[in-house]
Each structure stands twice: as C-alpha cells, then as structure tokens.
C-alpha cells in the first residue's frame, strides 16, 4: 500500500510531467498563455512558502515580483532594436529621448540624471542577477527590521502592503528612469547562451516550465530540511521555539528572502513571456489576487498553491472567451474564494489530502492490523 508521502511525491511528479509534456498538445498561442500561468504558479509557491510554512501573510508579494520584472525589463529594453538604433554608442531607451532636455547628450551615461543607472543592464546577466538579488536584499532588509522587532501577523501584512504601494508610487514618479505609468514596453528578446527566448517559441515555454519544476522541487526539499521543520515550529509557536534556543528572526528572514527570490524569478520570467513591465505589477489588487490563488489551492501545500494559481487563471481565460462571463468573472472568483475559506480552509490541496487519508485508512482497515502497523512504521 502506498504511504501518504509516496502519494504526495507522485502528485509532484505527475504535475511536473504534465507541464513538461504540454507543448506536445498545445499550439503556440495557448503555450504562451500557459507559460504566463506557470509564472503565476511560481508566485503560488512563493506565497505558500511564506504564508503556509512561515505563517507570514505577505500582502505585498507583488513588490518582489515587480522588482524582478523591472530588473529584467531594463536589460531587455536595452536589447530592443529601437534602443539600439538611436545613433549613439550605447543603446538608449526611446522614452528617455522623448523627454530629454534640449541639448542633452544621447548616451546612457548622461541623457538624464538617472539614466546612468541603466548602464550595467546592457549585459543581460546583470539584469538577471539583479532580478534575484534586489528582491532578496530588500526582503532581507525589511525582514530584519520587522522580525527583530517581533512584528508578526496582521502588522507584517500591513507593512508589506504599505511598502508595495510606496514603491509603486516611486516607480511611477521616477518617470525619466522608469517611464513611469507606462512601464517598459517594446522589449527585445532575452538571449542566453546563444538561445533567443522568443515568447512564442517552445524553448521559452520550457525555460518557464523548467524553472517552475526546479522551484517546486527545491522549495519542497528546503521545507523538508531541519530548518524547514523549525520554520514550521516557529509558525506554530514563536515563543516555544525561542526557549528551545532558536534565533527566530534568522529563520523568518531567511525564508522570507527565499520567498522573495522566487517571486523575483517569477517577475523576470513574466517579462520574458509577456514582453512588458508595468507599475500595475505592484498594484494592491495583484498582490491580493496572488493570495487568493494560494488560499484556493491550499496555502499549506506548495504544489496546491501552485496549481491553484494556474487553475484559476486557466478557468479565467476560458471564461473570458464567453462575453457574458467577462463581467461576471470577478464576482465568480470572489464567490469561489468565500466558499473555499468557509468550507475548505486548507484549500483544494487540503481537501485532496483528507480524501487521500480517508482512502488510505479504508484500504488499511481491510488488512490485518499487525501487518498494517509494521508497514506504517517503515513508512514513517
């Protein structure tokens, strides 16, 4: 009889197999769409790690997504044909030219006061590195301040919520450097190791699916370590953990930063697939939407939250093909959320887990009790 954990791993394997095989049956248009949804799946993993495992409900996860997205988009903006054809030694983003002071030199170094910040992004690897490092650094810094001060629960949620709105305002305000409200559009394709990641090519889909598979496996392994176990203990009772000798803030900061890194990678991949970055990534509604995906899928399960994000978006995409449902969609998703919170507090994954338990115990009851307990001992 398969144990619970075996079933769990089988679910991971089946999901990863499924997303890797999708290109066999999907055409380009849907492949690109699904790639976007897989990016959302990555966000689901990030939320489940911080909310489900660390007990930190981050209502500003969009901050890390947005930072990752902008870092990548800056590199890709400089790689676009328009930026390359401005007749200067360095590529210059078009929006900087439109708003340039008369007489300003057409060069990344000095077309405006902030443009020099873009210079290192000519190297796409710099953009990629920053897409992870900036979210991690920001998360470490805020996390350090919050968790050292033993701020927790709803206060963390509110601080993160305020922060994402603040950064969104700054990005919109810094128009000369960020193109403000319009975001970064007209991007080039990312080229890594000589491979061009055209958003409608299968290779791009595989990069995203591979990243998601890797993130799922790595995060799952991470929470299976002793540190992951201690993290869950801290979630349940910080004080108890403190009196067992654990430096609680260190654990919270570490996993908060890992969650931010995953969201940063998601932001980068989103830019590769969708070819734009926009301050709307840091809208409050987007950060809350992510939390809803994770809640519906099951915040206590990395895979559950991931599938929740992908599933809701597939349903939404399907629904928007029917004119009547486009308007109703927001109401429908709201209703789903309320129903899940009321009747499936651990989300769809929690429901699946309970169902698996019920089936396993029914299977187990049919067998002689001695044999069963021996096997369970081996399984545990």
């Amino acid at each position: 009889m398969p144990g619970k954990r075996t079933l769990d791993y089988a679910a991971y394997a089946a999901f990863i197999g499924l997303i890797l095989c999708a290109p066999l049956v999907l055409e380009e248009f849907w492949l690109n769409r699904i790639a976007k949804f897989l990016v959302y799946g990555l966000l689901g993993v990030a939320i489940a790690l911080s909310w489900g495992y660390a007990g930190i409900l981050n209502l500003g996860q969009g901050l890390f997504f947005g930072l990752g997205a902008y870092m990548m988009a800056m590199s890709l903006k400089l790689a676009s044909p328009t930026s390359l054809q401005q007749g200067s030694a360095t590529p210059v983003p078009d929006f900087m030219l439109w708003n340039a002071e008369p007489g300003a030199k057409t060069d990344l170094c000095c077309i405006n006061h902030g443009s020099f910040l873009w210079t290192p992004f000519q190297n796409p690897w710099f953009g990629i590195a920053m897409g992870v490092l900036v979210p991690v650094l920001v998360a470490t810094l805020i996390g350090w301040v919050m968790f050292r001060k033993r701020i927790s629960g709803v206060f963390v949620s509110i601080i993160m919520l305020a922060l994402v709105l603040l950064v969104r305002l700054v990005v919109i305000d810094a128009q000369p450097v960020t193109n403000g409200f319009n975001g970064l559009t007209d991007l080039g394709n990312l080229v890594v190791f000589g491979v061009e990641l055209d958003p409608y090519e299968v290779v791009t889909y595989y990069v995203v699916a591979g990243a998601l598979a890797l993130a799922l496996i790595a995060t799952r392994m991470l929470v299976e370590t002793r540190a992951g176990l201690i993290l869950q203990a801290i979630r349940d009772d910080q004080n108890r953990a403190r009196y067992l000798g654990f430096d609680v803030p260190l654990y919270q900061v570490f996993f908060f930063a890992v969650s931010a890194a995953i969201a940063g990678v998601a932001g980068m991949l989103y830019v590769v697939v969708a070819q734009f970055a926009s301050p709307t990534f840091m809208d409050l509604s987007f950060s809350i939407t992510m939390v809803v995906w994770a809640a519906v899928g099951g915040r206590a399960s990395l895979l559950g939250a991931c599938i929740g994000a992908i599933g809701i978006n597939i349903i939404e995409a399907r629904a928007s093909e029917t004119q009547a449902l486009v308007q109703a969609w927001r109401a429908v998703i709201g209703l789903i959320f309320v129903l899940v919170v009321l009747y499936l507090p651990r989300g769809v994954a929690g429901f699946a887990s309970d169902a698996a338990d019920a089936v396993l115990s029914r299977l187990g009851r049919k067998r002689p009790p001695a044999a069963q307990s021996a096997e369970e001992r081996v399984a545990s």
């Binding site: 299976e224 002793r226 540190a227 203990a233 004080n239 403190r242 009196y243 067992l244 545990s380």
Partner: protein, 248 residues
Amino acid sequence: MSAVLTVDGLSVSFAGFKAVDGVSLIIEEGELRVLLGANGAGKTTLMDLISGKTKSTQGRVHLRDTDITNWEEPAIARAGIGRKFQIPSVFRELTVRRNLEVAGCGKPGVLANLRFGLPRAARRRLDEVLHLTGLSDEAQTVAGTLSHGQTQWLELGLLVMQDPKLLLLDEPTAGMTAAETLRTADIIKSLRGSHTVIVVEHDMAFVREIAQRITVMHLGQVLAEGDMASIESDPRVRAAYLGSKGIH
C-alpha cells in the same frame, strides 16, 4: 557536588511593586527542587527572570560559571536552561514526533540546519522520550489534537529532547486528573539524577511524591528552605499560608 544554578539577590519591580525581591538560591547538580508559594508569591516571575523572559533590576544569575543575567531568551536556552510554561505550549500543527524532532535539532542556526533528518543519537533519544512520556502511540498525532495531559507531557518531552543542564517546570500538573498527575510525577522522578530540575507546584500530593528539597516563596522573597518535614512544621510557613489558602 557543584552548583548548576546560582541566583544571587535577584529582584524585579513592576512599577514599584517588587514581584521578586532579593531571592538567592543555589541548585546543585542533579537536584530536584520544588518551589512552593501561594498565588502571586512570585514563582513564575522568578522563572521568567532566570529564563530571560523578564529582565531583572538587581542581582545576578549564574549557570555553572557563566553569568547569564539578562541575556536574550535563545542565548539562555542555548547556555543550557529549558523552560516549561504554566500554560502548555507545543507546536500545534506538527505531529508529536516532529515536535520532538524540532527540540532535538541541536544546532540553532539556519544554515547548520539545511540538512535532512536528525543525527542518529537524537533519533534514538527521540524514541526513548516518546516512551518516557507515554506518547509512543501518538507519535503521528497532530499535537493540537492531544488531550490536555498529553500536551503537558509533550512539552516535558520537548525539554528532555532539548537536553538542557537545568529544567524549569512551571506547574507541570496544572489541570491534570489524579492519574495523570501520578504519571507526571513518574516522568519527573525519572529525570532526577540525570537532570537538574526546578519545579513549581501547588498540588501537595504531588510535592510529597517527588520532593527532596523545597523552597517556599512568599511576597517575592524566600521564606524557608528545607526538606518536606521541616517545611511542614515551619511556623513561618504555616503563618504565611494561613493568610492565604493554607498548605494542604
């Protein structure tokens, strides 16, 4: 014999009210010390001071030769003091086994714990602790669904797993049935010798069962210290208890 814990003139006042007032104690290696006192005598506050939950305003605390006065809680825990709370606290969403695994991790840092499974010695000890606390059959039970008594035993188990030099137990039998209290006495007696323990208790049957040496606190001060017989016949103790609820 050497002193594991030396408390010297420890005091704290909350807005002028001295909850603990110049308490001095010496706890020897392997000793099981019972702390008695009426409600509000300052027993819990004394444990708070020793374990770092409350910062003292006067006096020193030494664990062996280390001055741990007013250290942070995790640092005191790592120095070798384990604390059981008056209101039992365990990791409610984890199974009993995983609760004990957390306490057996040993190393405090994040990076040091980026590995799978417990050290072999800790795994062996885990089974012993399950047995000691009578939770072997509940190893896979989620801690939040345990009975009150079992929760108390699990918290005791966490402390044994942590393996500190000194265990501070605040009313480990609070809210227990008579049978559960006896079992708890057995668990604590089995720690005697191998562990140094300070236990706060109200239940006199329980105290008679386990006590060797008793310290009586009254109004934040040490009123008397000695074995069961000398405490029971001490007129000051009688007087202090007559004022409240009487020794029984």
